[in-house]
């Protein structure tokens, strides 16, 4: 009946189609868990947040009108669950959703550029060091993956959510704006800050390598 696969899928889910539900769980569960783990350091709580997300989704499906996609809807639910669980078990929450604001300082240390009073004001003092070649096909070392993950974990919450959805889950900018309820510009600022911080962590890591 519907030419829109998302609408057809939603109709199947709302009609209680078991296979459709299993497929949705199979497709989204690991991604939701990865997101939950970035907000709640306790594995048990992260799993609880995802389970509750699925329960809330089952309850809410009937009333879900498909104005956003299913996956952005699921992530919005998860963010709310993580927030609620975090209120109860604050020591496991890696962020304070309420107080966090946008940091607007430079993403590259200002001393890396010549200063205002110098002839080359605003240009690099030294080039950023070249990175060692990492063949595309080769798996990244466990050490490098752990470093990237740790640097993402240190980011403020919204930056962390944005880089996770954009660069790990490969969502589009608009989907992220919808799921996190941020403007297009803010989404981009958050993404920029997040990526710049991870790049800096990589640079520092490569500098320490022999």
């Amino acid at each position: 009946m519907s030419a829109n696969p998302e609408a057809a899928r939603l109709a199947a889910l709302q009609a209680g189609d078991a296979a459709a539900f299993e497929a949705l769980v199979a497709e989204q569960h690991a991604g939701l868990l990865r997101l939950a783990r970035l907000f709640l350091t306790d594995e048990r709580l992260a799993e609880e947040a995802v389970q509750e997300t699925w329960l809330a989704a089952v309850r809410g499906l009937e009333r879900f009108e498909g104005r956003s996609s299913l996956k952005t809807w699921l992530v919005s639910i998860l963010m709310n669950r993580a927030r609620t669980i975090g209120k109860r078990e604050a020591r496991y929450l890696t962020i304070d959703f309420e107080s966090e604001d946008f940091d607007d300082g430079p993403t590259v240390e200002p001393t890396r550029f010549y200063g205002r009073e110098e002839e080359w004001d605003g240009y690099w003092r030294e080039y950023p060091a070249a990175w060692p070649n990492q063949p595309e096909a080769e798996a990244l070392s466990g050490e490098l993956l752990a470093l990237i993950e740790a640097s993402i974990r240190r980011l403020p919450a919204r930056q962390r959510a944005v880089i996770l959805l954009r660069d790990m889950q490969h969502w589009g900018a608009e989907e992220v704006c919808n799921a996190l309820d941020v403007s297009e510009t803010n989404q981009r600022v958050l993404l920029h800050r997040a990526r710049a911080a991870v790049r800096q962590a990589l640079e520092s890591y490569f500098e320490e390598q022999p």
């Binding site: 569960h29 993403t107 993956l145 993950e149």
Partner: protein, 78 residues
């Protein structure tokens, strides 16, 4: 025609706008003009691209199929 000249300090803050193609044409042209003459910023841009590519290769958590199916069954039972 005069074009706004970009310095490295500003370039690095606009890299994501550039990668997202979220700039007006004049802004993009100014970025490209800077890139054409600045090897350091060209490298910075490439490293941001590399960063994105690597973040994209972080593995998803492993979820046991049995656990996932049990969850789906439990949810359906409600």
């Amino acid at each position: 025609m005069t074009m706004e000249a970009i310095r490295c300090r500003d370039f690095v803050e606009r890299v994501t706008e550039y990668m997202e193609e979220a700039q007006p044409p004049e802004g993009r042209a100014a970025m490209e003009a800077h890139l054409a003459e600045c090897e350091a910023c060209t490298r910075y841009l490439a490293q941001m691209g590399q960063t994105v590519a690597w973040v994209g290769r972080l593995p998803l958590p492993k979820v046991e199929v049995a656990a996932r199916e049990a969850l789906a069954r439990r949810l359906r039972g409600r």
